[in-house]
Subunit: 318 residues, 2 copies
């Protein structure tokens, strides 16, 4: 039988992933309203904004204002995203964002060439430079992340060996600076994974790096998100990135169905129905998902917000 965890940690990324890529401006007040609603659901970690160049990502131009205005709830960690030192400065200045460093590499050089016009060596050097900045400021670095860990629209297959080589490189970069990483994010950036690949890659990483807790970052572009999360649970994964209502998407993936992350409330439904604790009140989360849908003004992919939780049917049946 599978070694399912007793509980899982969910890193909610909807406000950042979702609003970053919506066409049309989302009012700052609406972004704040969603973050505040999510804070009341029992979620323990919410990624709020990207501190990126407003010229490149206009949807995040109000990031500092969003952070200023949302209400911090007790017991919730608020994260943000940044790509360089300037973004890090903004995150630090906010005083509400829980700032941690991470070391990110990509398992596909063609993806890097196409989207960031850099080589893997250059990306590694950028990580080293950021580590120096983190360490100079006393910011902890505990997480590594592998982009395109299950396949790439530009490279094609990404093998388990490719992933292990990238993880080795991340671990080595960490060790150069005396850092022992605790967590590793495996990201299915372009939605290539199926459950068998999740099992193979997570299994190989777990075997080689038993002290690294794996987080899965799953995109749902081909409808495999929940099945892949389940395969992750079977392999003992107990941390997932996800987006309320399925908000978000990858703008660089070069296919029309750039669906977002696996949907938070669908993931919570599956876990709770299998006896795996998420700490989340599903009905409140469904309310937040419906709010997200009203904010963006178009249907979002999550299913449970339509189908509903089973609570009222259970009560009716008793």
């Amino acid at each position: 039988m599978a070694d399912w965890p007793k509980s899982v940690h969910i890193h909610e990324e909807g406000p950042r992933e979702g609003f970053q890529f919506e066409k049309g401006a989302i009012p700052t007040a609406a972004k704040v309203e969603l973050i505040d609603a999510l804070s009341e659901t029992g979620l323990k970690e919410i990624q709020t904004v990207s501190f990126v160049n407003p010229k490149r990502v206009p949807g995040m131009a109000d990031a500092d204002e969003v952070v200023r205005r949302f209400r911090k709830a007790p017991g919730v960690r608020y994260s943000g995203l940044w790509l360089n030192e300037k973004g890090l400065e903004r995150a630090l200045a906010s005083e509400k964002i829980d700032v941690e460093g991470r070391i990110v590499l990509c398992a596909s050089e063609p993806f890097l060439a196409r989207n960031q016009n850099i080589t893997l060596d250059q990306m590694a050097d950028m990580q080293r430079a950021m580590i120096a900045t983190y360490q100079a400021r006393g910011i902890p670095v505990v997480e590594g992340a592998v982009q395109a860990a299950f396949g790439c629209n530009f490279k094609g297959e990404v093998t388990t060996g490719d992933v292990l080589a990238i993880v080795a490189r991340i671990v080595s970069i960490a060790q150069e600076s005396g850092i022992a990483l605790k967590r590793l994010v495996l990201a299915d950036t372009m939605a290539w994974a199926v459950p068998a690949r999740i099992r193979a890659v997570v299994g190989a990483v777990r075997e080689r790096y038993p002290d690294l807790a794996v987080t899965l970052h799953l995109h749902d572009t081909r409808g495999m998100g929940i099945a892949n999360a389940y395969a992750g649970l079977e392999m003992g994964v107990h941390a997932f990135d996800s987006s309320v209502a399925g908000l978000g998407g990858c703008p660089f993936a070069a296919h029309k169905g750039a669906a977002g992350n696996v949907c938070t409330e669908d993931l919570v439904f599956m876990c709770e129905e299998m006896g795996i604790s998420t700490g989340v009140d599903l009905d409140r989360l469904i309310d937040a998902a419906n709010l997200a849908e009203r904010i963006v003004g178009h249907p979002l992919p999550g299913a449970v917000k339509q189908g509903g939780s089973l609570n009222r049917y259970r009560q009716a049946g008793q």
Copy 2:
């Protein structure tokens, strides 16, 4: 490790499930066009129509005409649905429908009371009457089916014990008439299942009835369809009902998100990417899914028709 099958059998139900419940009339020619397109994908079994009372299901009033007009492709089995002897007569008269009997019971008495105003005993007697008709005409009866096998909006929980009791009753009804069933459909009629329930129920049924091949009929109302199919594969299930593009839905389930069956092309994508043969040409099937969407004139839930297969990316990467 799971004992995945090497190949799976897919019973495509889109034309029947989907068009039966669409609001607004679908032209007969469009129904025929979709069936003909599906016949060219490599699918081995396609459920085409319901031979039901046109007054109760106006969307199926043209069932006989649809069957008259679709092109039979070699190697494809065409099935239909009927609820009584009159419907059976129409299926037989068509001469294109592969007529087989089945014994259907429901694991929830409240569901029967609510939707058909009958008791389980009455349903059992109706099955016996149909068996007599089948046997009088030399029609084989090889399949049993359990409705609401994973939970019910009116009864609440359906336990593994409930399901085993219903299967025992189906097997007993078969034996009364000297029938040894070969297959058993477990239907998640109201989308209550999660992978752990699939494992528990399929496991218990397999253990008690090792000679009955289980087919899963999965609804995707809460986004669990593909994950549940994967859990089925892990339990050795090698037959699935599904609907192209996710066409269809249950009109009786009393919730707004009455989504259809698990989506055929998403299921095919998962299987083929895991090395499990479906016999289906995924790109052709995606074309058929896009046709289905054009026919109904609104978005359908399948993901892979948006995200695309991985074939062109693999070629690009070589």
